[in-house]
Amino acid sequence: MTTVHTYDVLVIGAGLAGMRSAIAAHEHGATVAVLTKVHPVRSHSNAAQGGINAALTDRGDKWEDHAFETVKGSDYLGDQDAVEILAQEAGNDIIALEHMGVIFNRNDEGRLGTRRFGGQKRARTFFVSDFTGQAMLHVLFEQILQANIPIYEEWFVTSIIKDDDGKCAGVVAFEIRTGRFALFKAKAVILAAGGLGRVYEPSTNALICTGDGMALAYRAGAPLMDMEMVQYHPTTLKGKGLLISEAARGEGAYLLNSDGERFMERYAPNMMELASRDVVSRAEQLEINEGRGVNGCVFLDCRHLGKAFINDRLRQINEEAKTFANIDLAEEPIPIRPGMHYQMGGIKTDVDGRCWDIQLHWKGVPGLFAAGETACVSLHGGNRLGANSLLDTVVFGRRAGKCAADYVKTVNAINVSEALVDIDHDLVTSILRRPSHEDTIAKIRLEMGQIMNRHLSVFREQEGMTNAQQVIHTLKHRWNTVGITDKGHVFNTGLVNTLELGFMLDCAETIIMGALTRKESRGAHFRTDYLDRNDDNWLKHILLYHSTNGAPDVDYLPVRITQWQPQPRVY
């Protein structure tokens, strides 16, 4: 007997986007459940340190400025209608978060305080010390508890199911603690499963960021968009690649090369260290490549900020620097380098989170929604501004939740066969039956991560990427036969890691495909064999569809431009 759960709206993932969309769907009258592979407060939204952007118009800021800087930051690949929505609605969402209980930093008058962030001329980043994401995540979890929304905690989704009309009809998932499968019928599924950082090694991302949402949607027939746009964050620690927040530079820290020079002067004379991330990361990598680094790093210098200030505003980062690099920021510059951080691309959605087009300009999966890093609206285009990711999760999470709640009122009861569970159950059984041998999932993942970090990083070119493509192809074959020692059903982490690796290999393939297709340099995608941005040919999105026989199918969509025509990008 198959266990069946039925909801109007099922949210996959319980980070900020997932919980925000669940609350919105609940408020709009839908029956909602959240299904997540880790407890909600373990989600990677925790890692967002610096803050959340919003132009509060009642304090003299203009949403148009925020929107323009986001568009410019995106290297004009962001869809401007979506960016306008983001910038216009940001203020209300910040206030809503404050009302829910987020303890945003206050100024002397007890009103919300701000700090500066990269790519923006004005201080419009609201924050909670340097653990803004965590402070928001825990508050949204509190709201989920208050609303009594059911959480299926430590459940792993194996596939999205569709009915005979091709509409999304729910998911198949198993409970990690018992290994038991269940069918979740839902008229709408919102994918909010986060990013894919572990496709790279190293990455700032947590070990759970394995691109599950993107791969699930892709396999179900929804297109992935602009997957080549992978952000390298300018300040990550050597080794495991842990993140040092942009808040450090926002609060005034310098970047120095081995000569002690503030080298950003040569790359971005106006914005200096606070130029957009792609610009700063490229500058750092050039300094390092040209021999002005030390052991593959340049330096972040906070000393002039003073001990008291660091303790007040950068406490967590300093703790992290002490624990993981053995450095006190008040006393020494810390070695940092660009490291893989964020996927601007993702599951193509419209501005209400739909993964299909109601005007039928592009093909998708009706009933499927996405929000957060998993999704690509597209806001961030070729490069995301710091502190826009948290904003993305709450604005578009909320919109997806509301739209899903409205959508389910128009759909009849779901009718799918319970036998769909058997396909995934059989896959798991076959993985467990494979003998474990020399080859391991750890080896495959490491090889994938290293090749991606070598050829799909700050600088890219045809030959290296083609090489990476071949390697991923071989790794996919190896994945089909790799076995694990644990044959049990209870908390089989090896099994979970195997399935995640399968998702990541699909993601890697699409990143490479997107990057090989885009023959220009734009935002985070910088090709040494095509040095310039080419608006004539490439001011467009790349859509990738899953195909059963080999490489992804490629399609294109125009960038939506409202009021900002592309200009040369200078910081």
Binding site: A47, I94, H99, G101, F104, R111, I208, G488
Partner: protein, 325 residues
């Protein structure tokens, strides 16, 4: 450096499930974390080892476990500090919660207790159109508690929970304090009244273990003490715990040295004969071992009691000013 990880394992799917220890010998850097070690075991020696881990940077709270007898985050514990006494590092699942498999515990009792304190903001109405105006200082103070990542480490090593599973525990109490101390929250009296019940804030024995092990500097026990102070300020119905605190203060203020029999009598109340009779053997034993001073009228103030009184006066003024801030 050559390191041995001695890990307590448990597989519930074995025929007769029983915990056992397994040792893994491997090369690690001194600067590696215990989590790095465990991941290396899983990736190179034994992929069946089960543990939770995610962020590697002490923010997600997944990898709470006992390392050399005390709960900690594996990602925040360095090999160098864990091998101070021996090159073997003992790794076990957290205490005070059931073990599911290897280092993975069932945290549902933990979450149940968090839920018990109604962990959401209950602001007064009407809600302002813009943000609540709140003192920067108050928000900064709260951020010291909001850094709690719910890893369960304090609960694992709580000595009260070890003997009384009904105790709401350090994490939930710290969370409760986060709301009680929030100027925007309007449910303070209701919250404190609930925490005044058995199993609540008065059941902490102040062993300090939670402060010692908390990886985020939340200091749960300090928050519990602040809750108690607020409870006394609110003049909630007295409990054994609150009377103990008040009588204790009163005796010290007037005598400068503790009168323990009187402390017991006044805390439990003169009429609580059964409880007081129960205390007699302890009193006799303590008296025999010269652990307690003479009681009642025989209990004299120490020389320099005036200075102690002055200290009390000053502390109460400072406390008053602080609380009015």
């Amino acid at each position: 450096m050559n390191t041995t990880l001695r890990i307590r394992r448990f597989n519930p799917e074995q025929k007769t499930p029983a915990p056992f220890f397994q040792e893994y010998n491997l090369e690690l850097e001194a600067s590696d974390s215990v989590l790095d070690g465990l991941i290396k075991v899983r990736e190179t020696l034994d992929d069946s080892l089960a543990l939770r881990c995610s962020c590697r940077g002490a923010i997600c709270g997944s990898c709470g476990m006992r390392i050399n007898g005390h709960a900690a985050l594996a990602c925040k514990t360095k090999i160098i500090s864990a091998t101070k006494d021996s090159q073997t590092i003992h790794v076990e699942p957290m205490n005070n919660m059931p073990v599911i498999k290897d280092l993975i515990t069932d945290m549902s009792p933990f979450w149940e207790k968090i839920r018990q304190i109604q962990p959401w903001l209950q602001p007064s109405t009407p809600i302002p159109e813009a943000e609540h105006v709140a003192p920067a200082e108050a928000m900064n103070h709260l951020s010291g508690v909001m850094t709690c990542i719910m890893c369960g480490v304090c609960v694992s090593d709580c000595t009260v929970l070890e003997v009384d599973s009904k105790f709401v525990g350090p994490a939930a109490l710290a969370k409760a304090y986060r709301f009680v101390a929030d100027p925007r929250d309007d449910a303070t009296t209701r919250r404190l009244t609930a925490l005044n019940e058995p199993g609540g804030m008065w059941d902490c024995t102040r062993c300090m273990e939670c402060i010692q092990v908390c990886p985020k500097g939340v200091g749960p026990m300090d928050r519990i003490m602040s809750l108690r102070a607020k409870g006394i300020d609110e003049q909630l119905p007295s409990t054994t715990g609150s009377r103990h605190a008040e009588v204790f203060t009163d005796i010290i203020k007037n005598k400068g040295i503790l009168d323990e029999p009187m402390l017991a009598v006044r805390t439990f109340g003169f009429r609580n004969v059964r409880r007081l009779i129960g205390m007699i053997p302890i009193a006799i034993q303590s008296f025999r071992h010269k652990k307690i001073a003479p009681s009642g009228p025989l209990h004299r103030a120490i020389p320099g009691i005036d200075q102690i009184k002055r200290l009390f006066k000053r502390a109460s003024v400072e406390n008053h000013t602080f609380r009015n801030k």
